[in-house]
Every structure is written in structure tokens, then in C-alpha cells.
């Protein structure tokens, strides 16, 4: 019962939160929520379909870049239009990558998605489109009617709304015929094919949808930060988002959100000199060791923690 109600409680808390936020916690919470949208989009692939992609940051980056590049140079762009184009362009690239990489399986799939993400990285890193390593600033945040992303409360509700919307959409997908087919593919693809499902098409559809949602996360990130650079597409980012969903627990939408929060907070903790002293200079070491210990001890992620504690007793 409590478990069922949990996402609703969190949603209500998030909607009521702006009144209580300091600028620091506001930024942190926004960051967590954007990353949660990103993590949810990957959860559709990894948790629901069983496809381990190590190139998911490409779609985040493409969404973010398209938002900045398609905005008018000095005036605010149309938020709705930019959101849709960010999702659309990411989906197109996902269609290209998915069509090719889904011809492979397992370890191959991991490597191929990684390689295509690196290709996208080089497009923004080396060609004039992305204007090099320094990245690009978004001069004016987009607007739509009465909505203005320059306003912090508006931006907050945009991000919160998108997170709740993404969560709801994926929860519906999970319950749909499509979602059940994906679950079937995850468990036994051969059998699904024998039953008469065109598994390739189903997987491709999941890949494109995941790419589009990652593009939406990219749009939010670009609007929130007002800045993009090629590092958004780097494979470290792809690894980080994979970490988030594992940290939270694969196979649960709650896990992706929880994992995103845990990852962002852990990184924040290890990189704050006030809290951890000299460790902050080498936060990656602390983070890396934490991950190793964590994966070794808690293969089911944070979601599995209560059951594990109960089991011990």
C-alpha cells in the first residue's frame, strides 16, 4: 500500500517544494530531476527491454544542442517547439543508431552504442556545428505564452511536470501491450519471436522512444544550465546514467529516480571540500570505490535494500 502510494507522495512533495527551497537546494533538486528524466529514459531500455546501452548520453547531448542551436540568437525561442524538436532530432538519431546496433546483441550492442555516441561527440566537438570544446551559451531561455523559463518558479514546474509526465508515460507503457511485449523480449526473445512478435521492430520502437525522452532531458538540461558543451555527450556521462539506474535498482521506475538522486547527491558530497575535506580533490576515487563496493554488496540496488535488511534479520 505504502509502496503504491510512494510515487504520488513524492510528486505532491515536489509540487509543493519551491516554497521551502534555498537557491542551492533549488539547483540541486532541479539537477536531480533532470537526471531522473534521463535515467528513466534509459530504464526503458535496460530495465524494461533488457538492452544495455552505453551510449545514451548522445541523445541527451543532441537534445541539449538542438535546443541551443535552434533558439534565435538573442531572443527567447518557443519552449514547446524547442521541446518537440529536441525530442524529434534525438529520436531520429536513435532511429539510425538503433536500426544498426540492434542487429547485434550483448557485448556487441554495448560497444556499438558506445561507438555511435562517440561519433555524435565528435560531430559536436570537431565540426563547426558544435563550435568546438568551449560549447555554446543559450542567451535567452525559451518562453511559451505566459510561461517563461527565465522565471525560476516556472522553470521548476516545467522540470517537475516533465519528470512526473515521463514517469507516468513509462508507467503506462509498462502496463500496455507494448510494455508486456518488451518484458517478454527481455526474458526470452527467441520465444517471443516464435510466438509471432517482430522483436526487432519492438526493440527499435523502445530505442527510439528512449532516445526521444533522453532528448527531452537534454532540452531541460540546456534550459536549466543555459549552456551546452560536448562533454554532455561523452561516454563518462553514458556510464554515469547507467550507474544511476543500477544504483537505484534495475527493473523499477522508482529505482531510476532514486538512483539519479543518490548519484547526484553522492557526487555532490564527494566534491564538497566543506564536508569531506581533502577527499574532494579526488572525488572520482571515492566515487569509484563506492560504486565497486555498492555493486558487489547490493546487486539489486537501493530498491532491494529494505528486503535485504529484512532478510538479514
Amino acid at each position: 500500500m505504502i509502496r503504491r502510494a510512494f510515487p504520488w507522495i513524492v510528486a505532491v512533495l515536489l509540487l509543493a517544494a519551491p516554497a521551502l527551497l534555498t537557491p542551492y537546494t533549488y539547483d540541486l533538486l532541479l539537477r536531480i530531476m533532470v537526471m531522473a528524466v534521463f535515467a528513466l529514459s534509459l530504464e526503458l531500455l535496460v530495465g524494461m527491454t533488457g538492452l544495455v546501452s552505453l551510449g545514451h548520453a548522445a541523445f541527451l547531448g543532441i537534445g541539449a544542442y538542438s535546443t541551443v542551436l535552434l533558439s534565435p540568437q538573442y531572443d527567447p525561442g518557443n519552449a514547446l517547439l524547442l521541446l518537440l524538436t529536441a525530442a524529434g532530432i534525438s529520436a531520429l538519431y536513435a532511429l539510425f543508431v538503433g536500426a544498426l546496433s540492434l542487429r547485434t546483441k550483448g557485448v556487441y550492442f554495448i560497444m556499438v552504442t558506445l561507438a555511435f555516441a562517440q561519433m555524435a561527440y565528435f560531430v559536436f566537438h570537431d565540426t563547426p556545428i558544435g563550435r568546438g570544446t568551449d560549447g555554446i551559451y543559450l542567451v535567452a531561455r525559451p518562453v511559451a505564452g505566459a510561461f517563461d523559463a527565465e522565471n525560476r518558479t516556472h522553470l521548476y514546474y516545467l522540470v517537475t511536470g516533465t519528470l512526473i509526465g515521463t514517469y507516468g508515460l513509462l508507467a503506462l507503457v509498462r502496463r500496455s501491450r507494448f510494455g508486456h511485449a518488451l518484458a517478454g523480449i527481455r526474458v526470452n526473445e527467441q520465444r517471443m519471436r516464435a510466438v509471432g512478435f517482430a522483436t526487432y521492430v519492438y526493440k527499435l520502437a523502445a530505442f527510439v522512444l528512449a532516445g526521444a525522452l533522453a532528448g527531452v532531458a537534454g532540452f531541460l538540461l540546456a534550459v536549466k544550465d543555459g549552456f551546452v558543451n560536448p562533454e554532455l555527450l561523452s561516454w563518462h556521462e553514458s556510464g554515469a546514467v547507467l550507474l544511476m539506474i543500477i544504483l537505484g535498482g534495475i527493473g523499477h521506475l522508482r529505482g531510476a529516480v532514486l538512483g539519479a538522486a543518490a548519484f547526484v547527491l553522492l557526487r555532490e558530497l564527494y566534491a564538497s571540500p566543506d564536508l569531506v575535506g581533502p577527499v574532494s580533490e579526488h572525488w572520482q576515487l571515492a566515487l569509484g570505490l563506492t560504486i565497486i563496493v555498492f555493486v558487489a554488496l547490493l546487486p539489486k540496488g537501493l530498491i532491494g535494500l529494505p528486503a535485504r535488511l529484512r532478510g538479514r534479520r
Partner: protein, 290 residues
């Protein structure tokens, strides 16, 4: 493009391809035999380059001796690493392997930063290899690059002989095509794993040491090599040394000539090559059935 330029670019392509082969061959064997996806393989390349940087003052001009010392050190390093870390990954799924080795990269990078700092370093070319051979009227070609190609070629031949002509190689090939059967036939698989892993680490580290005098030694240098090696493995087919060799040379040529003709988009060429191969043969060029 005149003939001399063309030849120089060909030499560069072969040299780059062979260097990639050293990294990718270890990667493909580790995949093929142990079924472990090792994201930290690029870090071994970096470890090699930094080893060249810190060993050069000790060995001075005796470059070959230094390579030998590096080979031994990195093989021991690989052996121990397999023992204390990687041997726990075999039974886990790919996802967890990805995470654990990703975390290992973070650890390696930070340990490197603690030990040698974050500066970019250069490694001097040993004097007896420092010259340049004149080609035509204007062009010269550095001797060290020829040496690098030759050294990689020697290692590639040695690897070929070990894999195809020795008892150990037989077990490795058998392991790559059917792991469980090899285990079932009573081969000490634990030891085989450890040796293959140590060999893979040693090859990657040697590649890093050989590359160090040509490129500078810098933080994060393993990442790029890792991804290109993945491309090589995908093109060549997992577990196939021959496939890795063909694919490395292909990638070497595409990358080098891509830089000559389409400088701006050169980073993309290799990945397009991979896309074409995936359409044509999704299992890689030399994949044997399984």
C-alpha cells in the same frame, strides 16, 4: 597528393593500425575467452604510457631494456589485477561488469593523478632512434615511427605464433570458440584466464609505452583508445586475432586518410566504417559461429 606524401600517409596508417592492434587484440581475447567486457582496458594503455614516462630517467638510452621491464611489470600487474578483481566479475552479467570496470577507470585516473599529477608530459625519443629519413626533396620520415611499426609488427608476429603454434595458444583458441567445452575437458581455466588477462594487459601497456614518445602523455588518454579498440573488435569479430589485425589496419587507413582528405569530420570516418560493416556483417568480419 604526390607519391611521397601518399607513402608517408600509408606508413602512418600502418603504424597507427598496428598500435591499435596491440590494444585491441588483448581486448578481443579477454572478451572472447572470459566473456568480460573490460572498459578499463584503455587505462592499461595509459598505465603503459605513464610507465614509459617514469621509467625513462632510470633506463636512459636503453629503450629496449625499458620496454622489457615494462612488459614484465605490466604482466605482473595484470596477473594480480585478474586475481583480486576481475576473477569476481565472470559470473556477473554484462551490466555489472560495465559498472565495475567503469568504476575501475575512475580509480585508475585518480591514482594516476595522485602519483604523477595532472600535467601533460613528454617522453624523449631515445637518441639512437631520433633521426629522420629523407623522402623525396622536402619530406622526411622520423626513424622512431618506423621503429614503432617494426616493434608492433614483431609483437603481432609473436602473438600470432603463440596463439597458433603453441599448446597455450591452442587452449586460448579453444577457449575463444567454446569456453565451457574447454573447462569440461579439464583445462585449468583459472590459470588460463589469468595468463590471457596478464597478456592482454601487457600488450596494451606496451602499446602505451611505444606510443609515449610520439604522442604526449596526458590524463584521460586511455578513453579514446578504448573506444577505437571497441570499434576494432566490433569490425573484426569478438575473439578473432586475425579479425582484430585486419580491422586495426582498416581503421588505421580510414582514420589517417580521413584526416588528410576530410580534416574537419575525420573523427567520424571510423564510426561510419563500423556502421557499414554492421549493415554488411553484423557479426564482424572474422566471427566464427557460436
Amino acid at each position: 597528393m604526390d607519391l611521397a606524401t601518399f607513402l608517408v600517409q600509408c606508413l602512418n596508417a600502418v603504424q597507427y593500425g598496428l598500435l591499435l592492434f596491440l590494444v585491441a587484440s588483448g581486448l578481443t581475447l579477454i572478451f572472447g575467452i572470459m566473456g568480460v567486457i573490460n572498459l578499463a582496458h584503455g587505462s592499461f594503455y595509459m598505465v603503459g604510457a605513464y610507465m614509459a614516462f617514469s621509467l625513462t630517467p632510470l633506463f636512459g638510452q636503453s629503450f629496449l631494456l625499458m620496454l622489457l621491464a615494462g612488459l614484465v611489470l605490466s604482466a605482473i600487474f595484470g596477473y594480480v589485477l585478474e586475481w583480486v578483481f576481475f576473477s569476481y566479475l565472470y559470473e556477473r552479467d554484462h551490466l555489472q561488469q560495465v559498472l565495475m570496470t567503469y568504476a575501475l577507470i575512475l580509480v585508475f585516473e585518480e591514482v594516476r593523478s595522485l602519483l604523477v599529477g595532472n600535467d601533460v608530459h613528454g617522453v624523449p625519443v631515445p637518441q639512437w632512434l631520433a633521426g629522420a629519413i629523407p623522402l623525396g626533396e622536402l619530406m622526411t620520415y622520423p626513424v622512431y615511427r618506423l621503429f614503432a611499426s617494426a616493434a608492433c609488427l614483431v609483437l603481432a608476429v609473436a602473438l600470432y605464433l603463440v596463439v597458433n603454434r603453441t599448446r597455450l595458444g591452442m587452449m586460448i583458441r579453444a577457449g575463444a570458440s567454446n569456453r565451457d567445452m574447454v573447462r569440461g575437458l579439464g583445462v585449468n581455466i583459472t590459470r588460463l584466464y589469468r595468463i590471457v588477462f596478464a597478456g592482454g594487459v601487457a600488450l596494451a601497456a606496451l602499446a602505451g609505452m611505444i606510443a609515449a614518445p610520439m604522442s604526449s602523455v596526458y590524463p584521460g588518454m586511455g578513453g579514446h583508445v578504448l573506444i577505437i579498440s571497441f570499434v576494432v573488435v566490433v569490425i573484426g569479430g569478438i575473439g578473432s586475432i586475425t579479425g582484430a589485425l585486419i580491422a586495426s589496419l582498416l581503421v588505421g587507413f580510414v582514420d589517417t586518410f580521413g584526416k588528410v582528405f576530410f580534416a574537419e569530420v575525420s573523427g567520424i570516418g571510423v564510426y561510419l566504417l563500423m556502421a557499414v560493416i554492421l549493415v554488411w556483417r553484423p557479426e564482424g568480419l572474422m566471427r566464427r559461429g557460436y
